[in-house]
Amino acid sequence: MSEPILSVRELRTYFELAGDGWFGKHKVLRAVDGVSFDLARGETLGVVGESGCGKSTLARAVMALAPVTSGEVLFAGLNLATLDARRLHEQRRHIQIIFQDPLASLDPRMTVGQIIAEPLRSFFPGMSVQERQSQVLEMMRHVGLLPGQINRYPHEFSGGQAQRIGIARALILHPDVVVCDEPVSALDVSIKAQIVNLLADLQAEFGLSLLFIAHDLASVRHISHRMMVLYLGKVMELASADEIYRAPRHPYTQSLIQAIPVADPRRARSHPAKALSGELPSPIAPPSGCVFRTRCPYAIERCAQEVPALRSLGQSLVACHLAEEIASRPA
């Protein structure tokens, strides 16, 4: 494949927190801690992990909406962090985002037409009203909104319809990369499928690259070419979606898959969803060595001492000292 459209190298986003009391030591929250990946043109990379694993901060850091403590985000070879405000603004039209809560991310006082046209106003202030209107209508058609809905307000729409508005706003500038931050998590089952299908169609139509973030493994697997599993700000595993599902290498990936209840009563009763023991450690004081070791059924002494590097194993990248042994063990 050609050069990746998005290249993330050793990305770290740390937040400084106030310490205890006036003179307490500052604490550092490592939301994203050394994440690297490439996103190819037309590819969907799924990002999964539990709340607090850093997936939303990663999305924001990629968009240059969250601070980058160290590392690089290269968009088509350009390091976004080094650009001045004007040039960063120019680049923004190529990377857009879709949010989880469609109604919260739409201005209730603007009409659908105004919301979708807003990026055009911002990036092409000289565009004629007629041209803007026609582009908005065209995009509304693409996302399955009716022309008659252009003067309606967001509150008149259901969650699924509102998400279509958010998608239209993200796509109106014909970006190369769309970051989807839990785009279907807040939607009802029957509507979720509509939006997942729509995103797949739009990707094919416009050749979009998607960074698809969600905690629902099945939706992510459905839409992604490759998947990245995050835990406490670090990459645990990165592999093709098929590989992640068929041969999960990292104990954390395995636990995530085993925790999903199957919609099949006989199987669900013979193999109930398996809970991961323990609680998610605080990202302010992550465990030494491998961050997953406190909940890992295989952890040995070495895991507390050495941070496992993300390394190749078969077709996968995995950050686990014991990956080979675990893989050869019967499940």
Partner: protein, 332 residues
């Protein structure tokens, strides 16, 4: 049935009047809950599942009108005086909601909240109540329960908060636990913890559970009986196996097919249900699902299909006469 059910709802309807319109949130819903069983109510937003629960507990908003009958151990709940309902709610019927943070008071330590029902309903003294609360927190697998008693909700993780909410609901040994989307706001690993816990509770205490959810996986794990609701009506009911393997309502089938399966490769298209759920103040004259139905017949637009038995406790409200689902027998 040999034994009277613990809870029996008959023809319950809930309607709200707002600005001259009548919203039919629940229409003629009936069900029975046997002791020690799990009844799942599945449906999407606006299907009436939460309004049904609120109506049973006398918690319907003031502009709502509730009709029908809900018998709890033979005594009528609908229209019962507030004092009587207060005795039942929290004591004989415990409740757990979707978002544990809104169920817990952020200003009070966990211990005070978990013991409150004991102080009110059982008139226990503080020391005995504290002891009982620690036991209950242990039962829901909260580590260091004595220390947690003094902590505030924000100091607990989401999964721990939901387990505290469950402990609070169970503290008076209720006969029924109502769980309204108890795992929807949780991560999958935490959800598995809560599911295991619900299974244990039912085995250990024999508690009956009414579980409201839209997650078919959760239902497959726990439910004995399933009611599928759409636009305020029960469209299909049966055992978990009836619903998953031999469903007879197109909506039930569509729900199952629209959920992405982990075993499916990329590219397989999800079978989405076209359109949106109907406006509950302007329901179509016939079947409410007809406008979105794949199998729609002419009469579906004209008359409402009644809920009819198709064998045993399995019933469907649909004119279409073919078995759907994965064990469907293709007609010759």
């Amino acid at each position: 049935m040999a034994q009277a059910p613990l809870l029996a709802a008959r023809d319950v309807s809930v309607a709200f009047s707002t600005r001259g319109r009548v919203v039919h949130a629940v229409s003629n819903v009936s069900f029975e809950l046997a002791a020690g069983k799990v009844l799942a109510i599945v449906g999407e937003s606006g299907s009436g599942k939460s309004q049904m629960l609120l109506a049973m507990l006398g918690l319907t908003a003031r502009n709502g009108k509730v009709t029908g009958s809900v018998l709890f151990k033979g005594a009528e709940l609908l229209g019962a005086p507030e004092e009587r309902l207060n005795e039942i709610r929290g004591q004989q019927i415990g409740m757990v909601f979707q978002d544990p943070m809104t169920a817990l008071n952020p200003y009070l330590p966990v211990g005070l909240q978990v013991t409150e029902p004991l102080l009110i309903h059982k008139r226990m003294d503080r020391a005995t109540a504290d002891k009982r609360a620690v036991e209950m927190l242990k039962a829901v697998h909260i580590s260091e329960p004595e220390r947690r008693m003094r902590q505030y909700p924000h100091q607990l993780s989401g999964g721990m908060r939901q387990r505290v909410a469950i402990a609070m609901a169970l503290i008076c040994d209720p006969q029924i636990l109502i769980a309204d989307e108890p795992t929807t706001a949780l991560d999958v690993t935490v959800q598995a913890q809560v599911l295991t816990l619900l299974r244990e509770i039912r085995e250990r205490f024999g508690t009956s559970v009414i579980l409201v959810t839209h997650d078919l996986g959760v239902i497959a794990e726990l439910a004995d009986r399933v009611n599928v609701m759409y636009a305020g009506k029960v469209v299909e009911e049966g055992t978990a196996e009836d619903i998953f393997y031999r469903c007879r309502h197109p909506y039930t089938e569509a729900l199952q097919r629209s959920v992405p399966q982990l075993s499916e490769a990329r590219g397989a298209r999800l079978v989405a249900i076209a359109g949106n759920p109907p406006d509950l103040s302007a329901l179509p004259p016939g079947c409410s699902f007809a406008p979105r139905c794949f199998y729609r017949l002419e009469k579906c637009d004209k008359s409402v299909p009644p809920l009819e038995s198709v064998g045993g406790i399995h019933a469907k409200a649909c004119f279409y006469e073919v078995q759907l689902g994965r064990e469907a027998v293709t007609p010759a």
